[in-house]
Amino acid sequence: MTQDIFKRTIDMNSIIPTHNIGIDYDALVQSDRAHTSLYKDERIFDEEMEKIFYSTWVWVAHASEIPEGGSYKTINIGKQPVVVVRDRKKKVHVLLNRCRHRAATVCEHKKGKTNSFVCPYHGWSYALDGSLRGVPSPESYGDCLDKSELPLVSLRVEEYNGMIFASFKEDIQPLEEFLGPAKKWIDLFMKQGAGYPIKVLGEHRFRFPGNWKIQLENTTDAYHFPLVHKSFLSSVDEKTEELFNFENQPGFVEDLGNGHSVMVMIPELVDLDEELMERPIQERFEDLAQALRDEGHEELEVRRIVRAVGGSGFNLNLFPNIACSMAFFRVLQPISVAETEIHHSVITMDGGPQIANQYRLRLHEHFQGPFGFGTPDDSEAWERVQHGANAGNDLWIMLNRGLPGEVKTEDGLKSDVSAETGMRAAYQQWKKMMTA
């Protein structure tokens, strides 16, 4: 059956323009596999922008990135540039980065602080909430320009525990409902502030030549870790290497609904506040612990901070574009069908001990980013997936690992730590949205 579907697509491609012909998404994603065309068909990519990125909640910022009135950052939702800004009353707005006059962007900085957004082309100026404040030389418009009709387009914005999401759709469910059981994992993840507010202090940004879903899958893929990250594992001490040996621990992957999933790799680091005094401090953090003691921190506080510095023992994958991944935020940004941009945002403790934050920064640099010991190898593997997907147009991406052991839970489905349960969850949500 599946081969027939693909033949049909090919035949249609060769005879007539295909842009008006519906793709049978239902057939392209099955319960244990996804069709290779999902990585490389431009029509599918274009429709993903509409049906996924412009139709659901998309993560745009952590609250700490825009701390004060006037603080802003720019980012894309799908392919559309937006400005995420906090107004003077501390309300967050997500505005399309496009002047209502002749479309020029009103902001080209990655982040900053401002009183207003002024279009550089003809000087139209907008307030922090997007309202059009001033138009130079307005007399030529006579009475044909109503400023109240031309604010920067403002999207729906909702926030959960510092995670700010935006949506083009007014009629979809509230954010908290969309997150569902993922909320409690977000709460657990935020414990790595060790009692201090979490602060994003910067990010590694890089691109790889491959489809965005390859990266989406990877955040819930423990199977690749010992192989792709062998070089990273060789660079850490023995105890840390043991900690990263996920296969020997009772971890799991759980489908949390709406395409979200959690992969618990290190179960003892799920709740960072648990048994702080009972469990030993990891060898690699002994110097840090002593430095904190020397600074006068109480032992419980020392242990809370040290535990938090190492990060959480799980990856929370939120469909479609954000992950709370062990110790950082992974932001995914589709560029084209075969190119994806990734941001790895480093998390620090706002007002926390400087030495502890330095440890976090160095740990992040060790694995993440274009010069890290982990990211370049991930990137290489994903590039190879995209390259290899050029072969075998009728083949499938197999997602059946861990199926036999999968059990129902209160929140969804659960299987072993290296199961592809999280990928199946994401692809089922993909199918649901693409066929809606």
Partner: protein
């Protein structure tokens, strides 16, 4: 302009030798060029010069430099196989400071990388902090590599800039 041409020649010869070692994967010799407490830094935001308290692409102390060399040599990383071929040119060398036993110099580096099917180009402004050394001439205290496109998205770099 009063220039110490002899010192300029000496430090230039030193950083040319360093560049040649990196292009020819002579990493052990390269490690020997460093002071024990030296730091190799690739910043992200050129305006943030408190490197220790900000996120960088690399902030390698002696331990991390050694690990990085091992990573490049042991063949375990798929991003190093096949390995990238690099050729770098170092020029526009200027002595910025020579006092308190430390010499600070700035130079331009243009590096071409070829790996698999891709030729890439990285241009950087590099600042060296050197001390004089009886055997190698100089030792590196600090090397700060400011890529001109450091705030842009980069691709994986599995060699030493």
């Amino acid at each position: 302009m009063n220039m110490n041409l002899q010192l300029l020649n000496e430090v230039t010869a030193f950083i040319w030798a360093e560049a040649d070692m990196l292009d020819h994967s002579e990493y052990r010799e390269w490690l020997n060029l460093w002071n024990e407490k030296g730091v190799y830094i690739i910043p992200i935001d050129p305006n943030l010069t408190d490197y220790e308290n900000n996120l960088n692409y690399a902030y390698d102390d002696n331990h991390m430099r050694t690990l990085r060399v091992e990573r490049l040599e042991n063949g375990e990383a798929i991003s190093t196989a096949p390995k990238a071929n690099t050729v770098r040119s170092v020029s526009r060398v200027r002595l910025v400071q020579d006092q308190d036993d430390e010499i600070v110099l700035r130079c331009a580096q243009n590096l071409r990388e070829f790996r698999k099917e891709n030729l890439k180009h990285y241009t950087a402004d590099i600042t060296y902090h050197l001390t004089r050394d009886a055997t190698t001439g100089f030792k590196i205290n600090r090397k700060i590599i400011n890529l001109v496109n450091s705030t842009d998205t980069l691709a994986g770099i599995s060699y030493i800039l």
